[in-house]
Symmetry: C2
Subunit: 334 residues, 2 copies
């Protein structure tokens, strides 16, 4: 089998680096290219990708550069699959990338979703931006696969009295600093995935003809926040403090960042809190992030597509934290 | 089998009246309710629906009335399927209707699509409004079925030198007045349906569990505009004048109605021309309105779902026009 040629935008990010690992370690042969901003070409992370056998291609995501797309089309010629793994601020860069991918004859475009099952618009603002990209892809008639993976297991890691879990807790994901926050009544089932599994799942999905022009929901397991906390109490032998935030309480805590976003003011913490609390509401109050609602929205279920594909369980993940062997997200994975 | 209880908003319109006929004449038992504006309760068309055994329920679509939805929920209780068949100006009325339908326990909501296969946004403005409604339905988690039927056969009826087709030609659909207009080079295959078939197709689709939470593309046949004109020349024995409008020419003729729409100025002809020319571009230049692109967009294909379901052929429709037996759209169908 000829290797599948994949180009990734955002290869050094949290999701992107998991995808790189998943592709390079897959039994399916992939030939992986990273699309890197010219300014980052000589950074250690980029050189590391190169050392691992990946091709590096300069790709300028700035608006000016996107006007001249001939270079981008040239770069993508011969590529089978283009994957975008960008943050909330980088969504728009995918529009020109998709247009160039279509012109270059790319077979499948994987837009940057990689999050929870959620309604297209009106609940999670970031989701709406992703749907705008998907609308653009459909207007192009470009082959695509949407891959969502649920909520990161890292987002459910509670603080322990002993402090043993602090080294993997990301401030904004876990509302670190105050007491442990659980959305809703804590009893709403939610699909969770270990970040290291994202890439393994993606490698499987993009090599599968059945997922072309489809949305796929792949996840490790489905748990409630309460179950997650009880599991950690059992594994650690410690009592965990909880603070429940019901729907109106979550809504009241969401910072109004519309003006800040419009003015280009980068109060990053407020913006991240805005995003995360919208996810909390979607996950814990609206009950969006589960296989049933995903199926209603039109997703294929990864558990049905790949019965043999086992992800890291929440128990394994929590145990690895207590064993001091887990990684903190947003650190260098390369 | 217990009858399926259906409520229709827009039952006296062109699409709505076809749906009413399709449901009442179906071998599947339907119990049909019309949701009628209070001001129209005593109109002849409404009384006629009543005489045909339909239940009439007052339903106020004005924005004020939608604030108080308790009455709407009460009206929809016990209804299995709600169908909206409204024009471009009435799309927003579906938002409150869908919310009430969810609260009333309605199983399936059929939003007002009933047109061509087209990308969600960015080509046909009306389509974007429909997608906004669908986004709202998905946010509600309300069961739904999107039904699109292609382009009306009436839209491809050419003027003949003898004038024999004039009695069914609608000015705006056919760009009546000037020469016969064909989009693009006239060679792009397009799905077409006779208006009378819309209701027959809908009756089949909404009684089918496979179409729940899906989009369905049902149509009579697929033809190119040139094939349609050649067919009419053969049937009529007359030579038909043609004017081809390529992509840039169509774009140049689309009136800019954004300001008119924003100011509430109702230059209806300009607005309709804007809509129809956007459809022309989508159908005849972009090649959107065909079963292949519909499948890419995620539609189920009516021909595959219902191999036995034959629609009126374009030849039968054209012959009925020449025989003086066809109907003009937008006249009273009740």
């Amino acid at each position: 089998m000829a290797p599948i040629k994949v180009a990734i935008l955002g290869a050094t990010g949290e999701t992107g680096s998991s995808i790189v690992n998943g592709l390079l370690e897959s039994s399916t042969p992939f030939e992986v290219t990273a699309l890197i901003r010219p300014a980052s070409l000589t950074k250690p992370k980029t050189l590391d990708l190169q050392n691992r056998g990946m091709t590096i291609i300069p790709y300028d995501t700035s608006a000016n550069a996107q006007q001249d797309d001939e270079q981008a089309i040239q770069a993508l010629r011969g590529i089978d699959v283009v994957i975008a793994a960008v943050g909330p601020d980088g969504m728009d860069a995918q529009l020109a990338l998709a247009t160039a991918a279509k012109a270059a004859g790319v077979q499948r475009f994987v837009p940057s979703f990689f999050a929870t099952a959620a309604p297209p618009r009106g609940v999670v603002d970031v989701r709406g931006k992703k749907e705008d990209v998907l609308d653009h892809v459909k207007k192009l008639g470009l082959g695509y696969t949407v891959i969502d993976i649920g909520w990161w297991m890292h987002g459910f890691v509670p603080a322990l009295p002993s402090g043993r879990t602090e080294y993997v807790r990301v401030e904004i994901l876990t509302m670190k600093g105050g007491p442990n926050v659980l959305p809703g009544n804590g009893d709403v089932p939610t699909a969770v995935t270990a970040t290291e599994d994202v890439g393994r799942f993606v490698a499987r999905v993009i090599a599968d003809e059945r997922t072309l022009n489809k949305m796929v929901f792949v996840y490790g397991e489905v748990v409630t926040p309460n179950q997650a906390y009880e599991l950690m109490e059992r594994l650690s032998g410690e009592k965990i403090e909880r603070r429940y935030l019901d729907g109106p309480e979550i809504m009241a805590e969401i910072p109004d960042v519309k003006e800040a976003l419009a003015n280009g003011e980068a109060d990053m913490l407020a913006i991240l809190k805005h995003h995360v609390l919208q996810y909390y509401y979607s996950i814990g109050v609206r009950r969006d992030n589960n296989p049933e609602y995903a199926e209603y929205l039109g997703y294929l279920d990864g558990k049905k597509l790949y019965p043999d594909l086992k992800g890291v369980s929440l128990e394994e993940f929590f145990q690895s934290i207590l064993d001091g062997k887990a990684k903190r997200p947003y650190t260098n994975h390369s």
